[in-house]
């Protein structure tokens, strides 16, 4: 082989390896996607070609599964969690970013650390308390505990965005006669808006996919989509076509949201820890 041919050969190997890796990464998703459109007969065979049907999506929304209610719960819980978390986190993030406070590093480390506390630890006391005050199986209860995982994350992520806004603009506004609160409202919020939206979407995804809290705190009224998956574990085994249809309903909106913020994806997931 000449040098040129060798180069071309390795280039082909390289491309082939990437394609294989992508294939492996996507197959489980594609398989669920296909299964959701198979009949309950087709799904129990290794079929790649079949007549697609939409009946599974009808069934999962009907009795006894009533996925619509779970969809509603998931949406409300995730949405309200975000609506509470983002404003509170933004104010704190601004303060952490722009001022130096006594014990600031300490506070930031503790906030970071709470992010890593195992969810099982947090949920035990909440379960006991909610049982006593009647918040078990309510959306309110679920929203409260979801704040535990979303809040630290949101503070760190938004702080990263605000750190990236140059100080000059704010200083110019203050020299021009704005108060600090006017600066936040008129300068910082508009400039940080894309970051806030991104953080909001992240928190929405986290709250939407949350599993353990919902598993422990809900059983009927406030059940969310991921817990709803368990409904399709029938007595004669799993109802794969229905599971898949439900799976699509869970993941499709998340795919759309994730693609919307793909530029910030890595940054968000490491909370600015990795360049």
């Amino acid at each position: 082989m000449t040098g040129r041919q060798r180069k071309q050969f390795w280039r082909a190997v390289h491309a082939a390896l990437i394609l294989v890796a992508m294939f492996v990464m996507l197959v489980p998703i594609v398989w669920i996607f296909l299964a959701a459109f198979k009949t309950h007969v087709d799904v129990y065979q290794l079929k790649l070609f079949f007549t697609p049907t939409l009946e599974n999506f009808g069934i999962v929304f009907d009795d006894p599964y009533r996925l619509g209610q779970k969809l509603f719960n998931s949406t409300i819980v995730a949405l309200v969690t975000v609506v509470i978390a983002i404003p509170i986190a933004t104010l704190a993030a601004y303060s952490f970013s722009r001022f130096s406070m006594r014990g600031e590093t300490m506070m930031l480390v503790i906030i970071l650390a709470t992010q890593f506390v195992p969810a099982v630890v947090i949920i035990l006391p909440f379960f006991v308390m909610f049982r006593d005050i009647g918040l078990l199986d309510t959306r309110v209860g679920l929203i409260l505990v979801n704040l535990a995982i979303v809040m630290p994350f949101a503070i760190w992520m938004i702080k990263g965005f605000i750190d990236g806004i140059p100080m000059d603009t704010e200083e110019a506004a203050m020299v021009d006669g704005s108060s600090r609160l006017q600066v936040i409202r008129n300068i910082v919020l508009p400039m940080a808006a894309p970051g806030l939206l991104t953080s909001g979407i992240f928190c929405f995804i986290i709250a939407w996919n949350e599993f353990l809290f919902a598993l422990i705190l809900t059983n009927k009224e406030a059940v969310t989509l991921p817990i709803g998956l368990a409904l399709f574990k029938g007595e004669e085994g799993d109802l794969w076509n229905l599971l898949s249809a439900a799976g699509i309903i869970i993941m499709a909106p998340m795919f759309v949201l994730a693609l919307m913020i793909r530029k910030y994806f890595v940054q968000g997931m490491t909370m600015g820890a990795v360049r």
């Binding site: 129990y44 809040m151 799976g247």
Partner: protein, 290 residues
């Protein structure tokens, strides 16, 4: 208002929320861990036992040690495999081009998938009758053709590990691509001109400069691996037997199924300890950068 007052007012709501939703439960869990703590026995949540829950876990419960062992092996395997495979994939994608940008977009999809759903999908993929991966492995490795993956303790464990690795490769890959991009290109080129082969460039130049990013990735992944619950619950529910029962699952089971809140709080606190070390290491990296 003076900035000096304002700055504390601004953080106050956040501090209250973080305290109420994360710090208080930690303290309360610590308190519960010293009580009898039976869900179905009124008053037992205030009935103090001393260290008995802890000594019980250490001395009388093989199931606890089993879950520690499962979690440890699981963490080591998933962290190791995910890191190595993600690094490989990141190196493949690092040169750029059209393939990379589509790959980068596609890689976001598996990570946006809920871990519970990943568990479900892998149970599907390894179904002995019509699972795609089951069929695939059956063809590739004939002795595995007729096995029922989730019924065999070792194979079930392997499936749980595979599901986790599959779910985390995209994230680690994306982070490592970013890390590779921040290795100055001229150092790599200088080494090429200086006479280094591709492998030497990687070993002498790229890898050492990637060190901090790799460390952060490994710490983060370790934290998430130690906490694993969702996939395990949906995939094997800890089974067969207790072959795939991670610590989180063990705690859940004792607390929720058996109502032993006090005991499971004790185990949960034992689990917090390694987290503290990992978080400390992680925080050091985060603040060194700033």
């Amino acid at each position: 208002m003076r900035d000096n007052t304002l700055k504390y007012l601004l953080v106050l709501p956040a501090v209250v929320v973080v305290f109420a939703t994360a710090i208080w439960p930690l303290i309360e869990a610590a308190r519960l861990s010293f009580t009898v703590g039976r869900l179905n026995r009124p008053g037992s949540l205030e009935q103090y036992l001393g260290w008995e829950n802890y000594t019980w876990a250490f001395l009388e419960e093989p199931a606890f040690w089993n879950s520690v062992w499962v979690t440890a092996v699981y963490t080591i395997l998933t962290v190791g495999l995910t890191t190595i495979m993600a690094l490989g994939l990141a190196l493949l994608l690092a040169p750029g081009g059209r393939l990379r940008s589509s790959a980068q977009t596609l890689l976001i999809l598996p990570f946006a998938m809920s871990p519970a759903l990943i568990g479900v999908s892998f149970r599907f993929m390894f179904n002995p009758e019509f699972g795609l991966f089951d069929a695939f492995f059956g063809v590739l490795i004939p002795p595995l053709a007729d096995v029922s993956w989730l019924a065999d303790p070792n194979l079930a464990f392997a499936v749980v590990v595979m599901a986790d690795v599959w779910g985390w490769i995209p994230f680690l890959t994306l982070v490592l691509i970013g890390g590779l991009a921040s290795v100055p290109r001229d150092t790599v080129e200088a080494a090429q001109v200086d006479g280094a082969s591709g492998w030497r460039v990687f070993r002498d130049i790229t890898l050492p400069q990637l060190g901090p990013v790799l460390a952060v990735v490994i710490i983060l992944k370790s934290i998430f691996s130690l906490k694993t619950f969702d996939q395990v619950f949906m995939l094997t529910n800890g089974g067969p037997g207790t072959a795939t029962q991670t610590l989180s699952h063990y705690i859940y089971f004792n607390g929720m199924k058996y109502g032993q809140i006090g005991y499971s709080a004790a185990v949960a606190w034992l689990m917090v300890i390694p987290m503290i070390f990992l978080t400390y290491a992680y925080a050091k990296f985060v603040f060194r950068k700033n």
